[in-house]
């Protein structure tokens, strides 16, 4: 037995010995020293089709693969649009109902149509893909595949031949058509069909066509490809090989931001034809699984349960590292590689990590090049100073890790349902005034500065209005402080005292938290999806905030579906919600409070159902203005109205903390775009050196454990031998007695 254990032990050591001088390296030995970035993901991406993908997790992948015509400048803040595949930013042209061109500065109400003409650079080529593979006569190699040729095809790499072709304007037009396809189900179709001329009508035609195809198919048969080019969208046309034109209803200045999102990235029709062949979808060979784009990387391995691998697109034209940025970028070394052509990294390996502890430890071992900070590891990673500034812990500093923080372009808020008779905005003048004061009192009492400190490790800033920092319209400093909730004390904003809140509550008709007429205590209801043991502290905190002004809070927990349903139907009183910016324009936050967008009345994003005619009028004006002092003035007025009406308690804007090893450089967090991998730089020699230093195997504890186990078996062995002898002795004596 001991020989067997010894052999097993030697085998194990031999196996580990094969791992080189580092035994716990989770990556193949062949990858050591490679110019490979190691990162992680926790949620498996649902969609990699740019017409469907709408989450930041998925964006980490597809933003490296697909190229919309525009992108955000990597270094400049506030966020600035620059061309990606386009030759220049398109300037919209405006027309009235009679198709006469209007000046850009004209009244938006006269604008019947806006036209965006996008010209793309010639010579851009797609990453290698079997959809482009052709035979010697130029015919597609993998089209009309029969059952025999499909027999050994289970992954994209089972199609060995690949090809490429030049990007054309038709590919962008084709993708816009895909947004309307009933087979794609793009989340932005509904929104875009309000603006893009003819998109809805085009979709209706496709739906009819789809029904015909479905009706004609035999049971168990896959319907043939839906030919999107059979019809045209009235408002989307190719002007020439490199130019396309989009015609919008009315004026929609924010449309240009959509042109920087993957929804408007090009898709070659060859890809749709290839993936549309019968049998491929059943083997997960779809565009949603294997993207094809013109970006700096292509997806070469897609195992969303385990790992995703991006490799350099050999046909990528290269993109120069920016030579301009923010003032601090130069001294920070962020401009050292200005003008050099990216991408600088050959391969990016994303490994799935569902649990925070192994993920964090692997980052500390050097097996991930970057990491976020979970609440569990926050205290060991970051020190927060008395003035709130964050710095690294000594352990992190000794590892050479760098901390980068940025305020997310997001807002989390406590919404008051405007349709609710107690906290809403309905009723006559006096009632409206009273409910307004009640909301203001609650806004003061619910201390979001404390919330950030307790539940977010200080990672956030208290909201003063709906617009987060980094978005035009946000006001910093004293002039940005919400006077309803804060007061200016020696130049610092201080939350107003509870006495002020209680006074407002009394004026609202609830002195000391009791109804003036009935004397009954005021009970308010908060709807939430939280309710498990892990949420108890947070829910207790909510109750405590309301108790401060003697309001009883009844928390109604429900699952996500019911929670959403209640909000949709307006059957809530208060609830927490958040919004991540689609694009860096104040419209993307202020529209969350625009009356006609009411969630209960119009299925819109104004979940609080807030309605204020003056705010709505100003929104419509602001919506069509260029950024400038005039627009800022309008926004300021809107924010004043909102602060006074308090349809939300303004919550907070979270801060993102990122940790980076010192061998990874050129990193600047970008909340609006995630296509920055092309500019990252790795010092792989330093990484190898640090990994070897941090991960020296310790064999002696294992040997000791095995020795102890063997040693503990010794008394048992001795005892067994003794018992064997004890059993035998009486039998022998008995036999001897008989003989005697």
């Amino acid at each position: 037995m001991r020989v067997f254990q010894l052999v097993m032990l030697m085998g194990f050591y031999a196996l580990l010995g094969g791992c080189g001088n580092v035994w716990n390296d989770p990556y193949p030995i062949a990858e050591r020293g490679g110019n490979i970035l190691y990162s992680s993901f926790s949620e498996r991406p649902k969609h990699l089709d740019p017409a469907q993908s709408y989450t930041s997790d998925e964006s980490d992948f597809i933003s490296q693969i697909y190229e919309p015509p525009l992108q955000y400048h990597y270094l400049k803040r506030p966020f600035k649009l620059i061309p990606a595949t386009a030759t220049a930013l398109p300037r919209p042209r405006f027309y009235d109902a009679r198709n006469r061109e209007l000046p850009a500065s004209g009244d938006a109400l006269n604008v019947a149509y806006s036209v965006y003409e996008v010209r793309i650079s010639p010579g851009i080529r797609y990453a290698p893909h079997p959809a482009f593979a052709t035979d010697t006569q130029g015919r597609p190699l993998y089209l009309n595949l029969d059952a025999a040729s499909m027999r050994d095809k289970f992954r994209l790499r089972d199609f060995p031949m690949t090809g490429t072709r030049e990007l054309t304007a038709d590919d962008y037009v084709y993708q816009i058509k895909r947004l309307a396809s009933p087979r794609v189900n793009s989340p932005i179709f509904g929104h875009m069909s309000e603006y893009i001329v003819g998109l809805k009508a085009y979709s209706d035609l496709l739906v009819v066509e789809e029904k015909k195809l479905q009706a004609a198919r035999k049971p168990g048969q896959v319907p043939p490809m839906l030919d999107l080019n059979r019809f045209d969208i009235e408002g989307v046309t190719s002007v020439d090989r490199y130019t396309y034109r989009i015609r919008l209803n009315g004026k929609y200045p924010q449309f240009i931001y959509w042109l920087a999102m993957p929804f408007f990235a090009p898709i070659p029709i060859e890809a749709d034809r290839f993936y549309g062949q019968p049998g491929l979808a059943q083997r997960n060979i779809t565009l949603d699984w294997y993207p094809v784009g013109t970006g700096p990387y292509r997806l070469t391995e897609n195992d969303p349960n385990s790992r995703m691998v991006l490799e350099r697109n050999v046909h990528f034209r290269g993109e120069p590292y920016p030579s301009e940025g923010e003032p601090e970028d130069g001294p920070a070394g962020m401009l050292a590689e200005a003008g050099k052509m990216g991408p600088f990294i050959d391969k990016v390996v994303f490994t799935r990590e569902k649990e925070g502890i192994p993920y964090w430890n692997k980052f500390l071992q050097g097996y991930y090049d970057r990491s976020g900070i979970s609440s569990d590891s926050f205290d060991s990673a970051v020190r927060v100073g008395s003035t709130g500034e964050a710095s690294l812990s000594p352990e992190m500093e000794s590892h050479g890790i760098r901390l980068k923080t940025s305020v997310a372009t997001s807002s989390y808020y406590l919404a008051f349902n405007w349709l609710d008779p107690v906290v809403g905005g309905a009723g006559d003048g006096l009632q409206r005034e009273q409910t307004r004061k009640l909301r203001q009192a609650i806004s003061i009492a619910v201390d979001f500065d404390e919330y950030i400190s307790i539940f977010a490790n200080g990672r956030g800033i208290a909201g003063q209005g709906p617009i987060p920092p980094g978005i035009f319209g946000f006001r910093d400093g004293v002039e940005g402080v919400n006077p309803v909730v804060y007061e200016n004390k020696d130049g610092n904003a201080r939350r107003r005292s509870l006495e002020v809140a209680k006074k407002l509550l009394a004026e609202a008709g609830y002195p000391d938290g009791r109804h003036t007429r009935t004397g009954l205590p005021l009970v308010l209801y908060l709807d939430t999806t939280a309710g498990g043991p892990g949420d108890k502290a947070r829910l207790d905190w909510y109750r405590k905030q309301f108790e401060k002004i003697n309001i009883q809070l009844d928390i109604r927990s429900s699952d996500w579906n019911r929670f959403q349903e209640k909000i949709r139907k307006g059957n809530t009183q208060m609830f927490f919600l958040g919004w991540n910016a689609d694009y860096p324009d104040p419209e993307n936050f202020l529209f969350l409070l625009y009356g006609p967008n009411s969630g209960a009345k119009a299925n819109g994003e104004n979940k609080a159902n807030y309605q204020n005619p003056e705010f709505d009028r100003l929104f419509e004006r602001m919506n069509n203005m260029e950024n400038g002092p005039e627009r800022q003035a309008v926004i300021d007025r809107m924010v004043v109205i909102l602060r006074e009406d308090a349809p939300w308690a303004w919550g907070f804007h979270p801060k993102d903390y990122g940790l980076y090893h010192d061998w990874l450089t050129n990193v600047k967090p970008n909340q609006m775009a995630r296509n920055g991998l092309k500019f990252y730089r790795l010092d792989t020699a330093l990484r190898e050196q640090k990994r070897a230093e941090w991960n020296r195997p310790m064999v002696w504890p294992l040997t000791l454990v095995i020795a102890l186990l063997l040693l503990s078996a010794w008394p048992a062995l001795r005892s067994w031998r003794r018992r064997e002898r004890q059993v035998a002795r009486p039998a022998l004596q008995s036999a001897a007695g008989k003989r005697g």
Partner: protein, 325 residues
Amino acid sequence: MTAYIVRRCLYAVLILIGVNLITFWLFFKVNTPDDMARMQLGAKRVTAEAITRWKAEHGYDKPLIFNAEAAGMSRMTDTLYFQKSLEMFRFNFGQSDDGRDISHEIQTRMWPSLALALPVFLIGLAAYISFALLMAFFRATYIDFWGVVLCIAMMSISGLFYIIGGQYLVAKIWSLVPISGYAPGIDAAKFLFLPVLIGIIGGIGSSARWYRTIFLEEVSRDYVRTARAKGLAETTVFFRHVLKNAMIPILTGAVVAIPLLFMGSLISESFFGIPGLGSYTIEAIQAQDFGVVRSMVFIGSVLYILGLLLTDISYTLVDPRVRFE
């Protein structure tokens, strides 16, 4: 025996239909097709039209059980239950709500789950039986006493502690194996060493104690006394008689678990980054993916029925007195 197996298989079909019906009812009691559409389409800018289109595209626009608008048999067949469930009995699970082929997913994820679960099961079973035999062999001695104390102590500790402690000690402090991850083929060994070790250690307390009880019960039987009276050595008594006769209750627990090894382990796979089936069902429930939920429940039921059948058959192998008649 063949008749018995055929009869059991026919029962199994009825059980599976029942399980399928209950799963269907429970799932749609909690989630409506609209909820499923919203979950897939996301929380932003979802229009009623988009929901209608999603439901039509995924076949969730039909009535659940009974189609009052249809005629004849179509009232039953042109329903969500019939359309979505019939194919499963041909082991065609269709596509998940995000468009991925479920059979492909299961085939892919099954092997990592097995790679973890099978060694834990086999080595664990051997280790637990050996440890239990040791305690029974040295019953009423300090070895037995401290063995039971160890078992109770190990049972009292959460499985999560073994995982986190093991990862910290073996993978982080000693740097002997990777903390988490997976690679196919022989490369899997370095990733599986720690989870297998922890899986075995984590189960030793409850299993060894249970097996010890079984062995002690057998030890006190008449045939054991007879064997000893015949002058057989204690090791012979234990390994040839006690162990064999104690196999029936051990088999009851062990054989029924064999098919379920395919289903994977939720916590271990999650912490060790093993891309198995363990988390597939949980993720599907969270994502309200009915296609995956019903498929996994169906497979779980089939495997459980198979496990029970195997247990019955295995009885005949270890105890000739058991007959299917």
